[in-house]
């Protein structure tokens, strides 16, 4: 029991402790900024993880919600003069609303059709961000005011801890989803929609629910990114973003709880170490990704955590493994 408990929580506790100590270990603002970005990417990764890792719904449009959250957050502050918490709530509400409107039609599709549809949606959002200059500021984007909370301007280190706290909340949300009946239902939806439906799992409801949740979490990440960067521009919804996100997910380990943290750290930090290699950087990046997919399909987190819900118990071989499902038709 305690062993399982340790196994489940120890990696998270280590990451948390490291996160708390990090500002005192890094040298200078640039490194602190990188550390902050790791948490932001981890949040973005956790949203995708819940959507694809837990529920099997492949969306390539998470970057759109990342951007929508950021733009809404910026506009609420610039035009409505809202305070940081209220602007954040506005961004969250806009993301949730848009994701419901988009999710209702596109979630009728599955697998690569869903991936295509969500990617198209993201491209539309990207184009709107580029061309609706009056509102979005076009290519130059929008400036976001310096972060203030309860009248005080936040220091960089305070922003770091604020964002780390957000990541912790999203992490706990993720654990909650995975360890309650919600996780079982999503796993059922992911494995076999019709079987899930025949047991009374409301498949449409869960798919939409997790889509909205993931979109909102992506929006939170986008707002945090805008806060740290003091601005938002169309690159937020660009194709580079979704490539980073997929890399993060694969390297970290899909369906695990701590995978997004590992993935985020690698996606942010690896290019720093490879910077000296200039044009070879992309090549190495690609090779690294391939090696991961071949040798570590469970990602970094797969080394310590099994993607399914419980700690591994022995899979004693049965007399003869049977085939699953769908022999007929």
């Amino acid at each position: 029991m305690t062993a399982t408990l340790m196994r489940n929580w120890l990696p998270a506790i280590v990451i948390l402790a490291l996160g708390l100590a990090l500002p005192f270990l890094v040298a200078g603002n640039y490194q602190l900024r990188l550390a902050t970005l790791v948490w932001i990417y981890a949040v973005l990764g956790m949203g995708f993880n819940m959507l694809f890792g837990f529920a099997g719904q492949l969306s390539l449009g998470q970057q759109a919600f990342f951007a929508i959250g950021a733009y809404a957050f910026a506009l609420a502050q610039i035009h409505l003069g809202l305070s940081l918490p209220l602007a954040a709530l506005t961004g969250l509400a806009v993301c949730a609303l848009v994701s419901i409107l988009v999710g209702l039609p596109v979630l009728r599709m599955r697998t690569h059709y869903l991936a295509m549809a969500t990617l198209m949606f993201a491209m539309v959002v990207h184009d709107v961000a580029l061309r609706w200059t009056d509102v979005t500021g076009g290519t130059s984007g929008l400036r976001v005011p310096p972060p203030h909370l309860f009248g005080d301007r936040l220091e960089r280190i305070e922003v770091y801890y604020l964002i780390m706290a957000l990541a912790t909340v999203v992490f706990l949300l993720q654990v909650f989803v995975k360890s309650t009946h919600l996780g079982r239902a999503l796993e059922a939806v992911k494995t076999d929609e019709s079987a899930a439906m025949s047991l009374g799992v409301n498949v449409t409801y869960y798919k939409l629910g997790v889509f909205v949740l993931a979109a909102s979490v992506a929006g939170v990440a986008g707002m945090a990114y805008a806060m740290v960067s003091r601005g938002v521009d169309p690159s937020y919804s660009g194709i580079g973003m979704v490539i980073n996100l997929l890399t993060l997910a694969v390297i970290g380990g899909l369906g695990t709880r701590i995978g997004p943290f590992f993935g985020a750290a690698l996606v942010i930090l690896l290019p720093q170490f490879l910077a000296g290699l200039q044009e070879y950087q992309t090549l190495l990046y690609g090779v690294a990704l391939l090696l991961f997919m071949i040798f570590l399909p469970g990602g970094l987190a797969g080394l310590i955590e099994r993607p399914a819900m419980k700690a591994p118990e022995q899979d004693t071989p049965s007399e003869r493994p049977g085939r699953l499902g769908s022999e007929a038709r």
């Binding site: 239902a185 796993e187 079987a195 009374g200 799992v201 022995q314 049977g322 699953l324």
Partner: protein, 242 residues
């Protein structure tokens, strides 16, 4: 208990059931036999709310269920053991069973534990393999999980779609022994089977389907004596067509 009247249903615009009527009395076992593509699975899936009804009515215990969602139908006590078992492979046996009781989340934990104990008593093998991933089980064990999963919902009417599919003969015998035990406990069942001989041996009443219609029905004793049914067992297709 279940009453179906003039049911038409299908996929998209193509109709697969062309006006099916049937009745199932509480405490009886009813079987549907017929060749591949006759519409047996479509019928079961329509009753479960997985295939949309085009016209006709269905009622269960006097309640109209024609337009109910799949989840509501499970709540009323109609639960399916799907064709091909359709387990959640990456999950353990125990987690699969838990998902069977998915709609019973408001039920007390002790009641769920009682149901699980019942399933493990029925299939002692599953108790041994409770922590094992469903994908690693043998075909027979997987069928046990599929049946156990449905029983976790404590159904009033159990729909079984080809429970013998893809199983070795000796394992098929075990599955039918279990069905006989459930029948002895008074479980009402609708059994779709290609193995008509075994289905007729256990059922009280039989319907024969061909190309989306009921072409014959009657008590199983009478059906077994029917030469046309005998021919159909032997796979001589076409006897009921037209």
């Amino acid at each position: 208990m279940l009453s179906i009247d003039g049911l038409r249903s299908g996929y998209g615009k193509s109709e697969a059931l062309h006006g099916v009527s049937m009745d199932i009395e509480a405490g009886t076992v009813v079987t549907i036999i017929g060749a591949n593509g006759a519409g047996k699975s479509t019928l079961v899936n329509t009753v479960s709310g997985l295939v949309p009804v085009m016209s006709g009515r269905m009622s269960f215990e006097g309640r109209d269920i024609t337009d109910l969602a799949a989840a509501d139908i499970v709540d009323l006590g109609i639960v399916q053991v799907p064709e091909g078992r359709k387990l959640f492979g990456p999950l353990t046996v125990e987690e699969n069973l838990e998902l069977g009781a998915y709609r019973s989340r408001s039920v007390k934990a002790s009641e769920i534990a009682r149901r699980r104990a019942f399933v493990f008593e029925l299939f002692p093998r599953l108790a041994e393999r409770a922590g094992q991933r469903a994908a690693t089980l043998s075909g027979g064990e997987q069928q046990m999980v599929a049946m156990g999963r449905a029983l976790m919902a404590q159904p009033k009417l159990l729909l079984l779609d080809e429970p013998s599919l893809g199983l070795a003969p000796i394992v098929v015998d075990r599955v039918f022994d279990t069905l006989a035990k459930l029948k002895g406990d008074g479980m009402t069942m609708l059994l779709v089977e290609q193995r008509a001989d075994m289905a007729l041996a256990i059922a009280d009443f039989a319907y024969v389907m061909a190309t989306g219609r009921i072409v014959a029905n009657g008590p199983t004793d009478a059906m077994r004596a029917d030469t046309r049914v005998q021919q159909a067992y032997l796979g001589e297709a076409g006897v009921f067509e037209g």
